[in-house]
Each structure stands twice: as C-alpha cells, then as structure tokens.
Symmetry: C2
Subunit: 458 residues, 2 copies
C-alpha cells in the first residue's frame, strides 16, 4: 500500500482508489502511536470521530462522490481554533476543558472540502512565546518553534498531512522552518478569524502547514475568502474552491517581467548564523545558475530594503503587546496564575506602553507597508536566522514579524539540512493579496532546489 | 437606602445619586446569599468580577459619566449565552467547564450600556425540556418552568433586576409566567444569536425578563438590531439606544385605530384550567370596563383564530425536533450519556421524522404566519394554561410555541395570584417587527390592572 507524504500525492491515490480515506487515516494514527509519546504534538485527539469521518468519506467515494483534492485528507488544527465538540484549550490551564459548540469558519470549510479532522495541535499559552511541551522531531532536545508548535511537529512526523496554524509575530513560519515543513501565512484578512482566539487582531493571521507548495495552495483555496461571520475578512473571492486556480504552472516564467524574484543583502544576511548564511547563498547561486542565459541571470535581482526595516520587529512587538493586553487584561488580573512568564511579560509590556507610542507604531506600520510594496514583487530571504534552538525557547521571530506587521503573504519552504541533520528554510514574500505570486515562485524554487526529505530517526 | 424592584426605579436612583451601582449590586448579592441555596437559579456566579464592574461604573458616575438607564444594573445571563471568561455550561455535564473567549453580541451590548453581569443562570440541558435543579421561588415543590429557569427565578427573587433568556418553544414566556416576572420574546431575528447555543435556528429567539414593561423595553433597546457577526439578524435599526424611543406614552390611544386590542374564544380559553380562565376573564372585563365610553368598549375586540391554529404546537415541535437533531446528532451519537431523557427523545423524534414531513411543517409555518398576520394587530391571551406545575416537569408550552413558530413578538406580564399564592400571567402578541405595539399595549394593561407584587415567603 502506498504511503504518501503530501496531500497532492495522497489525493491522487484516493481519487484513483489505490488508497481509501480510512487507509490514509490509519497510516497517520500509526505514526501518532509511534512518535507522539516523545514529540507531544497533540493537545487533543479524537480517533473515534476521525475514523467515523474517514469511513463516511470512504463510503462517498464508493458511491462515486469525490469532493476534490482534500477528500479524505487527515489534518490537525491548532488548539486556539474551534473544532466542534473538541476543547479549545489555548494552552491555558483554566480553559483546558472549553469545548467548542461549533467549527470555526476555516475548519467548517475544510470539512466541507472533505478533510478529516484528527485533533487539536499544541499551541504555546495563548499563542505567545512560552515554551510548549512539544519537542522538535529532528532532535528532541530542541524546540519545534512556536506558537504553532504542534502543527509543525505533527506534519513533520506525518501524523497528519497538513495543519491549520496561526501567526501574530512568527508563529507559522518559524515552527514550520524548524521542523522542515512548508508553510503559508496568507495576506492579513484572507482567511476568516471567526472561531479563533485573538492575540493581537491587527496582526493575527490564519495559515497552514504541509509538505509541498501545492499542498499549501490546496489548503489556502479551501479556507480563504469572505466570511459573513467575520466582517474583518477580505471580500476578495478565491476563484476556484478546489485548487485548479493554483495548479502550478509548468513554465515559471509565464507572464512575469524580468527581475521578478528579489534577494537582498540588507537586514537578513548579517543576522544569520552559519550554517544558514552559507546554505542560503548556495541556494541563491543555484537559482541564478539554473539556466545560464542572459534572460535567467536577470531573473534573480538584488534589492535594498527601506532603512526603517530594522525597527520593524520591535515596533511589531509593541503593537502585539498592546493588543494582547487589550484582550487579556481583565482576565489576567483575575487569574494571574493562568499566565506563564512570557505572556505575562508581553501583557505587562502592553500595559506599560503609552497610547501615543502605540499610535506611532501603528502609523509606522502603515508607512512601512506602503514603502515595502514599492521595493519588490517577490522577495526570497532566509526564514529564520538559524536552525532550531534548545527547547527552553521558541526561537527568534525577527525574520518573520515584519511580514506579520505588514500583512504581506509569506510562504516558507525547507531547502537544506545542517550537518547535524536539522532543516533550514527560506521564505518567499509577496505583495498583499498576491498569493499567486508566492505559489508560482515557491513552486519554481521547490523544483529547482529539489529539497530531499529525510526519514525521522526518532 | 432605597431597594428598587425594577430597572426603571433603580436607574432613577442611580442617575440622581441616591444609589451607587455598588449599593445596588450588594443588594442583589445579599438576596443571592439568602435565596440561592434553596432556589438554585445560578450555574455560575462571579462576585469579584461583578463588584469590579460595579465599582468602575460607580467611579464613572462620580466623574459625571452616565451611560443611560442600564448604567449599573445587575443582570443575569442564561447559561447558553457566552459571557467572557465564564463557562457556557448549556446544562451539559461534558461542557460544564467550557469557558467563553468573548461576549456574545447581546452581552457585549448590555455591557456597553453599563450593565453589570452577575453570572450565568441555569438552563435546562441544551435549552430543552429536562427538569432543571432550579425551583419555583413561590413554592419550592414546583417548577420555575423551562428552559430559561434560572433567569426567571433569579429575577423573581431580585437576585438581579433583569436577565437574558432564550425561547425556541415556550422557554421565555413559560418560566417568566410561572415565576411572576415580565418577559419579552422579540420578533425572530431582532436580537443577534451570535455566541448563543442553537437549539433549532429557525425558531431560536433571544429575549429578556424583568419586573416591568418599561424594563423590558430598555433591555430590548440595548440589545436589538443588526449584527455584522450574525447574518441572520434583521437589519432593522432600533432608533435610539437608550430607551427614549420606547418611553411609554401617557395616552395609550395615541395613533391607534379602534379594535386594536383583540381577545379570542378560540384555542386558549378551552385549554385553561381554573383558576386561569376565571382570572383571565376578570382581567379582560376590567380592561373593557376601564373607561365606560363607546370608544373604550370598542377598544377590546374579539377575533377568531385560523382553523389550523390547534395544529401549530405539534408542527412547531416537529420543526424543533428536526433542527435539534441536525445540530446535536453527531455529538449525541458519540456521547449519549451527556443527553438526559427529554432532549434524547426530542433528538430521536427529529431523527425519525421524514424530510417530507419537515418540509410540510416549514410550509405550514409560512402559511400560518401569513394568515395570523391578517387577524389582529395586538392579541391578548393567557400566557400558560395553568400556574406552575410540580418540579418533575417544566410545564406546558402549547400557549407559547405558536409564537415561536411564527416569529411574532410576545410580551408576557403577571396579572393576578391564585389562592395558593402562585402568579398568573397573560401574553400580548403583535405582528413581526411591531414591538412598539407590544410595549404600548402592555404598558396600558399593566397600568389598568395594577398587578401587585408580593414579598417572597421563602
């Protein structure tokens, strides 16, 4: 029986009948049994409910009904997103048994597309920076990253083929990078936040993790778009609900001007540790050399970032702290015991911040976003300064928080391994609403680089 | 220090400074301490949070800020409606610790209007028919009615001056009547269902209980109106957020044609037991005699109801059963132990019902509603067939479910006492969206009848 790693492969096996949704789910449950005791990616698993869904979707296929490429695909949902009759624990002690009375809109859409919800993946407390119980599957002494720790670790272990995650600073890109999986943080507002715990609403994004660029496009297509329950969600309509719109082009050049893919010497390279800098340089050289014609040399282009770029992470953190305090303050005062140290100091920072300072950070956010928009169409930079650090931290979000601040879409993909066997990842950034650019560019990079997944040695 | 019974009285004391929000809350908390051990109206009380809100609202007043007539008014919220960081237990064992991450829209609006949220009032399991732990404050052997049992009992005991409640069959009017408090079930869709457990969405109403007609108008005004989170909510805008729109007219005749208040010999009187029939007849005679002029004799008019009226309760129950099954089925199958007998048989009835039968009941609902609309502008009938029955039941909803079925607004008010000291109530029904008619008529009836509240003998 085939054991597909990606949604794209699994979908083809399911469509042709080589695998049933039940077969596929059992493969995931077997990996959960094998890895979960050490990795601890899950806050809640409902095997019975998942088996029931898979059985029903298997029956549908027997009857000739096929919902599309997510039909029968096992997914994990970050534990700050509501799934009907599972607790939304949010990494809180006091909320650990808070069962949801309905699906969040993004979960409801995945179910309608045929996904099987396996359970809830571990989040750091309130999606902030406190280290979670989850460990990095590539080295159990290291962090999987945060705050979408369980989603990244579960997808890396094949416990599910994709997962929903959220990012306010670097909570999607960072854990995906540390765990060697692909991730998408869409444009701010493209996926509804209905049914999701807020951390800082002007920065909160819903996104996804999986094992290929095309998988991310499938998950994005199933979830993005206007939601009558969430007035914040952008009304822009996603053209086709089942991925045809984002089928990867065979020719990555179609329709693009020269210099469409940019790299930069600013901000990112000086902040990288070895081996990230070397590995990233090697990758860029591979991309530049891909086809040694004049046309292709022109494809990868170097740009300079705005001078204020280095201030963005700190200002993003101020906005995050203030908005986190705005939401949590009354509860934090009543139940300080339910707030671990990092979220406590985030809230305290927010409470100390003057309104004028917050206003300045919001104004800077608008100017900074406008300025970045003129610098590139697609930017390729390292996703993190270094591979995963020890489990006492959740890692450094400074390479990610600027994109949460501007709301620009980011797709991250693993591209190399360190000598110690840790994955390294790059991130592709595009203009707001231009997820198409991300998918095309990332698919081209994925094909040219030919990143080789490795088996876990857990 | 004055001890107001109604929101209207309390609001005046607070406005003039004779009472602070803290004084008023402490009066309510003292009544909770006194009555709650026997009445058991509350699923969750957060005294600390309530005292904090009251203190803040007291400070605002000292600083000259007055939010309007709900400033500092202590309220209870039915336990299927979300209040931030309190559990929404829904009468479920498994959901008992399900803390809400935000306020339902109706709660948020009450808070903005200055209300103090004391806690969550007991609901029957999933707002269905299983007897609750709550007892009737007028006789502890009797039911308070259901499903908004705790809201009715708490308001009757003065543990809060008003409460939110919900009705799908007779869950607002019935308990309010049994407990001797006033209630409003607004037009279907006028108050947002955002953040509220569904029972049967096409029949679910959010409403309120209090101790006077004007109090209901104040609560209605603060909560009704379009909600961007709930596309189901009617867009009709409530003119003034603080009750001036629904200030009771001094002259109840203003603008009305003759025969505006109707009574009927159909359906209701034959189904009443003594003493309800006698007491209701006496009340109608009082109204007719109120001003012995030709004009006034014409004011109260007798109409006939459509012949299909007697079928409405049974068909309403079919719709309720089917929609309850649609929501609960998957969870009911997985956790049958969390479903007591009455909700179980409701769901089972829904599962047994054919789609064709459901479709016929929905079609009848539309025709029946159209037909009723032509029969009267305002109808006055008994609110229940009899006073509160023993605690093994939640009482008979057949006098209430037709108005849930049609979505027509209903206001109930106590008008008399039985020889055993139990309250009896009448209900005023109007056309959809015509809550004004209800408030005017009910305020006139309230004034003419002069219902005398009694002290509890608990």
């Amino acid at each position: 029986m085939p054991e597909p790693r990606t949604i794209t492969e699994a979908a083809e096996f399911i469509r042709t009948g080589e695998l049933t949704p039940t077969d596929l789910l059992e493969q995931c449950l077997a990996r959960i049994e094998r890895y979960e005791p050490r990795v601890r990616a899950w806050a809640y698993i409902d095997c019975a409910a998942a088996r029931e869904q898979a059985a029903q979707l298997s029956t549908e296929l027997k009857n000739g009904q096929h919902r599309g490429p997510l039909h029968g695909i096992p997914l994990g949902i970050k534990d700050i997103i509501d799934v009907f009759d599972m607790p939304t624990g949010c990494g809180s002690k006091r909320w650990a048994q808070s069962f949801a009375r309905r699906d969040a809109t993004c979960v409801e859409r995945l179910r309608q597309a045929g996904a099987v919800i396996v359970g809830k993946t571990v989040t750091t407390a309130y999606a902030s920076f406190d280290p979670p119980v989850t460990r990095n599957p590539w080295n159990l002494d290291l962090t999987p990253g945060g705050s979408s720790s369980g989603s990244a670790a579960a997808v890396a272990c094949g416990m599910c083929l994709g997962a929903l995650a959220t990012q306010t600073g670097g909570s999607i890109t960072r854990p995906a990078s540390y765990c060697g999986v692909y991730s998408l943080k869409p444009t701010h507002g493209r996926v509804s936040v209905d049914g999701v715990l807020p951390l800082a609403p002007s920065l909160d994004h819903i996104g996804m993790m999986a094992n290929s660029v095309r998988d991310l496009a499938l998950l994005f297509n199933a979830t993005a778009g206007a939601d009558t329950r969430s007035p914040e969600t952008l009304a822009r309509i996603v053209p086709d609900p089942f991925g045809n719109r984002y089928d990867m082009p065979r020719d990555p050049d179609m329709g693009y001007e020269h210099n469409w893919l940019c790299v930069t010497d600013d901000f990112f390279p000086p902040r990288c540790t070895e081996p990230m800098r070397t590995a990233f340089d090697t990758m860029v050289r591979t991309l530049v050399r891909y086809e040694p014609t004049d046309e292709m040399i022109g494809r990868v282009h170097s740009v300079s970032l705005p001078p204020g770029f280095a201030e963005a992470p700190e200002r993003q953190l101020t906005v995050m702290a203030v908005e986190a305090a705005a939401y949590h303050e009354p509860r934090y005062r009543r139940h300080p015991d339910d707030y671990p140290p990092k979220i406590t100091s985030l809230i305290e920072r927010g409470l100390r911040t003057s309104a004028a300072e917050y206003a300045r950070c919001k104004q800077f956010q608008a100017r900074f976003t406008d300025e970045l928009r003129t610098r590139f169409r697609v930017l390729l930079v390292p996703a993190t300064p270094a591979p995963a650090p020890p489990a006492e931290t959740t890692g450094d979000p400074t390479f990610n928080s600027p994109w949460s601040y501007t709301g620009m879409p980011v797709l991250s993909l693993p591209f190399s391994w360190t000598a110690d066997g840790l994955p390294l990842a790059a991130q592709v950034v595009a203009k707001q609403g231009q997820e198409d650019d991300l998918f095309r560019t990332a698919a081209w990079v994925e094909r040219v680089i030919g990143f080789a997944p490795r088996p876990l040695s857990l």
